[in-house]
Amino acid sequence: MTEPTAGPLKRTPLYELHRELGARLVPFAGYEMPVQYPTGILVEHTHTRTACGLFDVSHMGQVRLTAKPGHSAAKAMETLVPGDIAGLQPGQQRYTQFTNDAGGILDDLMVTNAGDHLLVVINAACKDADLAHMQKHLSATCEVEPMFSRGLLALQGPQAAAVLSRLVPQVAAMKFMTGAYVEIDGARCYVTRSGYTGGDGYEISTPAEQTDAIARKLLSHPEVKPIGLGARDSLRLEAGLCLYGHDIDTTTTPVEAVLLWSVGKERRVQGGFPGAAVVQKQIAEGSTRKRVGLLPEGKAIAREGAEIVIDGKTVGIVTSGGFSPTMGRAIAMGYVERSQSANGTKVDLMVRGKPVPAEIVPMPFVKHAYYRG
């Protein structure tokens, strides 16, 4: 959760490739990561929305959970997250959160039922803490196997399916939030039809030593350009998706963050995850605040930390804000008191001491384009 400040920066298997491509590398979650390539964030963003972008997300943590005899990895996982994991069919993936005893979010993650084991993808900045958390609570029932050296590539955009199916025909028919083991150039990879841009695409888990070759192969297709973390952030913001440590953290619950859709229906009733009582009370009575979309008038950008004000009274705070290349205007998300959270509510966002008029709007800002078959 906290970014390591000491020690040398780690590198992903694509470090040399990033250098060759002229990436601007910056420290991120303890890694040296590409924030952009020479074309710049706006072009990268637009390319991902209109063609296909390749992202290196190998800094994220991958963990394999395998049940010990007589146990269920899914049932074990459900003791730590509110998502319906036991209900995942083989090949199905789900978004969920690790919660704490107050219902706060320790991290958000993806869980896939890969048949005889679960595959978990966690945020880079949280991965050591998440691993310790899983080892502490799941080791009695599961083998908890970190695979932090593996590569993870995100291939995103409307051309992603055309590109990847040239290498692996079966991915064309995969639906959003499903996964499968596939072979790419002899490397055993796990592909899911998912991502964090709001668009169609895949995430490809690769053996460390073959990651570079697979990335180069994908980049050799004319539709594919490398995309950095800068565009990854503007893409996910347009899609209304939360960035851990900004839009969600240990002080926000899944209810406040409007992530209740990711909490299993039975689990809302039965609980059994950390902080269940808090979450259930908020489901029944409503939370005092909730995450909303914000559309500022004019061009000024309200960024993280900007106060949200109504009639001079602070009612909330911006947690992410930036420029939407797709819409050509500023967008933001933040938390406001629930009583002031209705769509259409007029607010002011305080930018450098000046009020910027804005309206509370539904998210996503840019329609999702997931492939549901």
Binding site: G40, I41, K299, A300, I301, R303, F323, A330, R352
Partner: protein
């Protein structure tokens, strides 16, 4: 004869008579990345040397622009509202920010000339 001076904050000021035109340097625009919004001071505003008087927003972050000298703003670049990308494309041309009627041209003596600024940028690695 126009003379251009530079600040350590990567602004340039081109002086003609007692009016200085101010913008950011090529190095600054490269560091900022894609510029999406520029908040320039209105004509008539009086600024002091070193005062934060404009803001340039890139996709990544907001950065203050400091007045390289004291004076009164006589014109700001209204075109940047619609074409903020001019700052990236022509940082020392169409991407200028504002013009200042200088209160004291002597304030410019402490700024760098082009050779000194180039050496300064080089020293940043």
């Amino acid at each position: 004869m126009a003379e251009t001076k530079y600040t350590e904050e990567h602004e340039w000021i081109r002086v003609e008579g007692d009016v200085g035109t101010i913008g950011i340097t090529q190095y600054a625009q490269e560091q900022l990345g894609d510029v999406v919004f520029v908040d320039v001071p209105a004509a008539g505003r009086t600024v002091a040397k070193g005062e934060a008087c404009a803001v340039v927003e890139s996709v990544k972050a907001a950065s203050d622009i400091y007045a390289p000298a004291s004076g009164e703003v006589v014109e700001s670049n209204a075109a940047l509202a619609d074409t903020p990308g001019d700052v990236n494309a022509e940082p020392t041309g169409k991407g200028w920010f504002f013009k200042l009627k200088l209160a004291d041209k002597g304030e410019l003596d402490g700024l760098m000339d082009e050779a000194a600024y180039e050496a300064f940028v080089k020293s940043l690695g």
